[in-house]
């Protein structure tokens, strides 16, 4: 009996030890030659990893998260950084990380090949975050629903104030979504702060829901849950390509945009490989992978072919977006609390 108990105990111990070694062995393998946090959708991330591994032979350990999550993680890990490169995702968290010194400076030899907006992002972040793609803000409408409502097709920001669209517009909450914050900053830059807030108060009457995630209004439009949705145009295009009855609109007054960025994490353990990736990701060969993965942003290298589905930046009236001012944390806090107090809490 005693022997049996001992045997059982020994087996359990052996089992536990092998289980733990199993787990830690896996972790050791995960120490690839480059650790990448990827902030765009899975397909695109995978394509980038595969192509880079094929081109350079460097093994990439990639984790996909939303860019807000990546920022929170990089900040929490600052004492002992795990990641080498942070690729993709909207520019604000990259700017914030640059401001807090979580990422490091790097000057790529490819800088000369890039569009002006990409280089400007790099300069404003003190040589840290560089633009890799860009996408304009806009809205879309469900063609079937708008026909049944008998509302003229909206073409401008002002058309969204149409009283017939009451409870038919969906946008994200700027407190949680970078997309909606871009809208807030865009409206203010287009109309001035006072008029801009008047506009948002008017829009509030038509908004049926402030979603948490920025791309959610595009999906809700596709499902017919809302008639109009405000989102980045490339997110809406993805739904159109998926055969949803949606039309994308570039607002006639002009619109703001995001710059998807890339940064090298400060204290990166594989700095050399991170720089190699940084240079490689700015080449046309790497940037054209986006369109193949059904992401229709505009690439930052001038020589990259722009996907035919992508909203043409040249045909969209873009405002001169001041990322330095509206990306700074003080200004953001001020505008968000003003929006909270003056717009969000208004009765319908």
């Amino acid at each position: 009996m005693k022997l049996r108990t001992k045997f059982v105990a020994a087996t359990m111990l052996a089992g536990a030890v092998s289980a733990f070694s199993f787990l830690s062995a896996g972790a050791a393998q995960a120490q690839g030659a480059l650790v990448m946090y990827c902030g765009v959708q899975e397909e695109w991330c995978r394509a980038m990893v595969n192509a880079f591994e094929r081109d350079t032979g460097i093994k990439v350990a990639m984790t996909r998260k939303s860019s807000g999550e990546i920022y929170a993680q990089v900040k929490a890990e600052a004492a002992n950084p795990r990641a080498d490169i942070w690729w993709g995702g909207t520019g604000d968290p990259h700017m914030q990380a640059a401001e807090e010194g979580l990422t490091q400076e790097y000057k790529s030899p490819k800088l000369g090949e890039l569009q002006d907006w990409a280089v400007r992002q790099w300069e404003q972040s003190k040589n840290r975050a560089i633009g890799i793609y860009s996408g304009a803000l806009g809205f879309g409408y469900n063609t079937e629903l708008i026909k049944s409502k008998g509302v003229p097709e909206p073409k401008c920001w002002a058309d969204l104030l149409n009283t017939k669209l009451k409870d038919e517009v969906q946008m994200a909450d700027p407190n949680s979504s970078g997309t909606a914050y871009t809208l807030l900053a865009t409206v203010i830059q287009l109309m001035g702060e006072d008029k801009g807030f008047e506009y948002l108060k008017g829009l509030h009457k038509n908004v049926n829901q402030y979603t948490k995630s920025g791309a959610a209004p595009a999906k809700a439009m596709a499902l017919g849950e809302t008639t109009v949705g405000v989102a980045f145009m490339h997110d809406i295009v993805t739904m159109v390509v998926d055969k949803a009855p949606i039309k994308v609109v570039a607002p006639c007054e002009g619109t703001g945009y995001e710059i998807g960025s890339m940064s090298i994490v400060k204290g990166a353990k594989n700095l050399e490989n991170a720089q190699k990736f940084y240079d490689w990701a700015l080449t046309p060969a790497a940037q054209k992978l986006g369109a193949e993965a059904k992401s229709y942003q505009v690439p930052s290298n001038k020589a990259t072919p722009v996907p035919p589905e992508a909203p043409k930046l040249s045909e969209i009236k873009l405002i001169n977006f001041d990322f330095a001012k509206y990306g700074s944390s003080d200004e953001r806090k001020r505008l968000l609390s003003k929006w909270d107090n003056e717009v969000k809490n208004l009765p319908k």
Binding site: A19, F20, L23, S24, G26, A27, A28, Q29, A30, Q31, V35, Q41, E43, A61, M62, T63, R64, K65, S66, G68, E69, Y71, A72, Q73, K75, A76, E77, A79, N80, R82, P93, Q96, D167, D173, P174, N175, S176, S177, G178, A180, N208, Q209, Y210, K212, S213, A215, K219, L223, G224, E225, M239, D242, K243, S329, R332, L336, D340, N345, P347, K348
Partner: protein, 724 residues
Amino acid sequence: MSRAALGWVVLGWIGYALLPWYGFERADVPGLTGSGLVLGVKGAWWLLPIIAPLLMALRPTFGSAPRSESDWLIASGVLGLALVILQGFTIGLNGWTLDLLKNLFGAPGPRQAGMGYGGALSSTAFLIVLCHGLAARGWCRGDAFVTSSIGIVLALIIVFVFFPVSTILASAFADNKGNFAPMEFVAKFLDRSIWGLDCVTSDLRCGVAWNTLFLGILVAFGTTLLGLAFALIATRTGFKFKKLLRVMSVLPIITPPFVIGLALILLFGRSGALSAALYEWFGIPRSRWIYGLPGVFIAQLLAFTPIAFLVLIGVVQGISPTLEEASQTLRAKSWTTFITVTLPLMRPGLANAFLLGFVESLADFGNPLVLGGNYEVLSTKIFFAVVGAQQDQGRAAVLSIILLAFTLGAFWLQHAWLGKKVYTTVTGKGDAGIPLPLPRRVAAASYLTAIPWALFTVAIYAIIVIGAFVRSMGRDYTPTLDHFITAFRVERADWGIYFSGSAWNSFFATVKVAALSAPLTAAIGLLTAYLLTRQRFSGQRAFEFGTLLSFAIPGTVVGVSYILAFNVPPIEITGTGFVLVMCFVFRNMPVGVRSGIATLSQIDKSLDEASLTLGARSFTTMRRVVLPLLRPAIVASLVYSFVRAMTAVSAVIFLVTAEYNMATTYIVGRVEAGEFGLAIAYSTALIFVMLLAIVAIQLAVGERRLGRRSASANTSPVAVQATP
């Protein structure tokens, strides 16, 4: 000295002298390979003092009075732990961790990596030696098994709950740059968006704290009632489809997050199937009522009723028929018996089910995210305070403190309600009775709530299964297998089978982590329940609350706190599968504890005492007497922890790595990208795996035999009452 204590002293020496002291994750920390002793001799002077307590622990083997023996053991354990902790926290990855030491001895100072197997084994040995010393002093009636169990559970809770949670809650009192700023805490705490009561007087919104509280209470009542109805039908009636009902009621618990929400939208949304039908047949206008409180309430009810059911079924089964029969013999009607005898005996179960429902609703994140509309709750607010455009970790910590306060309040209320009454019904005496059939009214009420609800669940799951096999749910119903092929493609290559589907990687990692964490969770949870109900020691209530803490804190906060705590020495385990397992164990342990407590409070202590009087030790008593009686609780905690490890989202978002990508993060990514079909297909596969696991667990653990006659075998006229 007992042989067990000696064994642990030897293990302590092995950990110090033989196993590598550093590098749990990477065995090759530069310049720091080798055991503690070897490194200490080579120049890591801070490891040398640890030899002193190890020598002290050997002292009793040379013979001494029992009194001084326990003194030596206690002193060795305390000194050993103190040394390990002191050097661990003062010497970091980049030298001294405290500015004071930097100023005194110069920067940067010595460096060290995270603890490895050697360090962990030695620390454990010190802890157990200390507990043996205390037992020798007469603590817990001199039972070394009990003191060691308390010591281990306490240490684990301190390391994996208190330590990480306190690191993040400290940030509630700091401004964004990390300076101490109590005024900022007060300002954030009293914010109108949290406590505002505008919805009472006008049509403005109420504060997020009130919203959360209201939803939590509604959901807790709802799940407890539904769970009770299911439990009564399953144990006290002759209902034909009991088995099916059990499976049905467990289905929602094994459904990955977002899926129930999505299904509800596809059914009740403005373009949903049911809304369209209502509009066409009855002209009821389509509306968006599902977004907001009603939607979240329904989704949480679907998701958490199974937990209430799992807790209550053990309790209802355990109620002794003897008391009910006595009541009937005294001419009480079956309704009176139910109200005055059966129901009060269920109180521990009801209270625990209510508490779990409330806490689960508070911590739930997926459903409010999908269905919340403009109804905001704390959990989503906290998530977006961390990752949203505000990026305000301090605010997240303040909101977490409010959430914690609610949980604490519920916990206290539950204790007050249960009071000091006795609920024991499983005793060593033979139970001669058969369970009383339900009074007509109760049976009818149970059927009327449970069956429509079960049908509703079927409808939801039909939608989910259909969604996995059509091109795009809600728009394009062309049947397709594309989603499964993308996720789970298997190719035959020259060297064998190659899993080329994009989901395989996360699928294997998830199953592995879930399978490892489930038994650990159940073991620690039930051990804790045993200690809490069967042993008396000071600080018991605080200990009990500590076990609830990690459950009550939202996953996002736990995730960030695990990074903050476990990314630097002395415990450096981020990026490993181990940290995921630990996170799951301590997040899900409370369910094991709660269902263990509920079941144990019914089992008469005299059973344990009989075993102890006959000379069995605590460990033997637990193994031979308590565990077999605890089978329902074992099943509940195993099932729950396995399932939660496969379906939890928010905590793991920050802990996954390329190697350990979890199924849920994959699903969330797909939902974000709008690929609902793929997300639902993956979920269907996961549901299938979990069903298999549940059946396997049921078979492995087996049913509890209480030596009672079963009601179904009995054809007496009383039993007929149960069928409506």
